[in-house]
Symmetry: C2
């Protein structure tokens, strides 16, 4: 049996994603296809354009059999933390045989080589890396230049580790190495526009371009599969979207103005003076974009700054994130499945050592049951399980408050909305 695993955000699911999914199936020829998807907040440090259930439905309608939620504590991390969370889920499901990810370079040998260097950390490489960091470069840039010096890369080859899909790909391979996974991995050359390309291009556009089109009321229907467009349109019509970072402005900026430096001490990621920069910028800025500009420096990417905003409002305490990055996701939250996916779920259920959760409101009962179970060995840290799960619930409760339609804003989406069955 072959089971294809994908790591996605589908924010929203567009023609490029559909192309990727079809090509991946051509490569693997799987019996089932499973996706791990970000929930209501994405790795760019932004709220998703529409909620996770709507995006799950897009996935199921377009050929995914089961959608698992990547817990917020991973979805809002840098490429490394994001990859570790997603790869951990795929690996711990025990039935995933193949992973396919998009790649600008499509040079899997080279990406693997890089991941191995990062994993084994040869002394010389480490020396170069620290040197570049000292120059003030951001973490990804410092790493890039260190690799350039260590491997004596020419300009063309260097480009292969500059693009966002390749960067993520390296992290996926790194995490597979780290957890000694047997999952095979493959790449697909990304077509159409760049991940970050802000412009709408015919039928294959980046998610960024599509979100911009939605924001600016530009027609984007040609960029999405019809069903995906319909789901998105319904969400917008009923006032549950579109959600942009700007909506969070009157929440996060006054919130940051309230903070003192020691309030950020226990929050993950506020190092290198970012605590002071955040508080000063929040006190100065009149809007979220001015805030981002004020915090920005050579070594901090915009995505990192945006993610840190959410670390502070969601109380991403160091202990939770560090434990998460050591022990991985403590549950498999099922957002939706197809009839076919249901078959696979009944198989998965037999082997996993962390709970499969399809009814979120049972999350405490499920834990209690596991703690009493004497027949099966469960690999769950109770405290971390609760912390991760409650972070997801809290993130949803904050997210839904920013729905344009006031009548849709009620909290508790995770408890009310049943798993999507398509």
């Amino acid at each position: 049996m072959k089971v294809l695993g994908l790591i996605v955000e589908y924010n929203p699911m567009h023609n490029g994603h559909l192309y990727h999914l079809k090509e991946a199936k051509k490569i693997v020829n799987p019996d089932f296809t499973v996706a791990v998807m970000s929930g209501n907040f994405c790795q760019r440090g932004e709220p998703a354009i529409v909620n996770k259930f709507a995006r799950t439905l897009m996935a199921l309608k377009n050929g995914i059999d089961i959608v698992f939620e990547l817990p917020t504590v991973f979805a809002l991390q840098d490429a490394g933390g994001f990859a570790f969370g997603a790869i951990s889920i795929l690996n711990n499901l025990k039935i995933i045989t193949d992973l396919v990810f998009g790649s600008e370079s499509n040079d899997i040998k080279f990406l693997k080589k890089i991941a191995e260097i990062l994993y084994t950390q040869p002394k010389d490489f480490d020396h170069y890396f620290k040197k570049e960091l000292k120059k003030g470069y951001s973490y990804p840039n410092a790493r890039k230049f260190a690799l350039q010096n260590f491997l004596k890369l020419d300009k063309d080859t260097l480009q292969k580790i500059e693009k966002s899909n390749d960067i993520l790909g390296i992290e996926y391979i790194f995490s597979l190495l780290k957890i000694n996974s047997k999952i095979r991995f493959h790449t697909i050359k990304r077509i159409g526009s760049n991940y970050n390309d802000p412009n709408l291009k015919s039928t294959i556009s980046s998610a960024t371009a599509i979100r911009n089109a939605i924001k600016n009321n530009i027609n984007f229907s040609q960029s999405l599969p019809k069903n995906s467009f319909e789901i998105l349109s319904k969400e917008i019509e009923e006032g549950r979207g579109p959600i942009f970072l700007e909506a969070f402005e009157p929440f996060v900026l006054p919130y940051l103005r309230k903070l003192k430096r020691n309030d950020l001490e226990k929050i993950y990621g506020f190092k290198e003076g970012l605590d002071v920069r955040f508080i000063e910028a929040a006190n100065k800025a009149g809007d979220i974009n001015e805030f981002l500009e004020l915090v920005k420096a050579k070594r901090f990417t915009y995505s990192r700054i945006r993610r840190l905003i959410f670390y502070s409002i969601f109380n991403f305490n160091k202990d939770i994130i560090e434990a998460s990055n050591e022990y991985g996701p403590q549950y498999f939250r099922i957002l939706g499945f197809t009839k076919k996916g249901q078959e696979l779920l009944s198989i998965i259920k037999k082997y996993v050592d962390r709970p499969l959760i399809s009814t979120a409101s049972n999350y405490k009962k499920v834990l209690e049951k596991i703690l009493k179970d004497t027949e099966r060995k469960w690999n769950v840290i109770p405290k971390l399980y609760l912390q991760q799960f409650e972070m997801d619930i809290n993130a949803s409760n904050i997210y839904t408050f920013f729905y344009p339609n006031k009548n849709q804003r009620k909290a508790g989406m995770d408890f009310r909305k049943p798993v999507i069955i398509e």
Copy 2:
């Protein structure tokens, strides 16, 4: 020398306030007139329509010689706490001889009698009071019915303790008794509309009616002195107002959704199950008015619920408020003065035992100086002084973020804006 003291909010300063000021001067015939005024947040539990400096200018242009800020920890309290803070300042200035306040009943003997009962707490009264509270009445209502039973009041007389100015008046007298003040007090019959009257009435309208007119774009110029109208208009034109509670909605509701019950444990005023009501309502409500409706119950007034919102976002910790209600305001923050007021300030300066602060950015230096001073006996609790002062600064920083004009939102108003000299 006679110095008239007034306790005001001037939100905004209108013809009714001007009438009151003139009548008060007729009664007292003072050499100087001093006002204690709420800062950026008012006793109704709402942000002021325009900031404290604009409202100070209105006061100075219309016959007040010095404006002192009532610290936020008092301005946002119920009638009792508000009155205690304001009366403490007036009394501790040592030069105020007369207090005049508005009264619906204008029956000063009766108000004094009530205040004396509340101050001496006769056993029978206390018995009635507790009985009414048990029935589920709000604090002011329970007190009213207890007084009715204790004094065998008829319906007409009962009305005298039902109106907001009379309620405040009783609290002023109560605080004067409590701190054994020698300040004489007088009442002026309120004319024109009721404090809470939402409708605009010719030239004398309530501040509530004027704020509603501003919100609904109805002409209100006839209700304000010309200079007050001009100051207000300038603030609005330049985008520093008008500020309404609704602007705070996307800040306070997601903020409350983040909280757990034990987060509210240390916040002042969250008793009688209000912690649970707040969190549940925030999770359910789509807007601030729905939130207020959901929390509302017979025993909780809307003003109290609104104030509690700000207690939670400003971290009104029990220890700060309880200490404040015991030791009073720890400083006299001067918001503005006239040339004439300056003369009075030089007299005040000689006698006070708590610092006069006109340059807010010096607040720490001033404290250091006092702590080293061996010549004069200062009556300041250093920790409480800092807590109260920093609460005012923080309140301003949050307040200014909600200015309509993004370019005006920069924090630090208290440090940048010099004292108003008119």
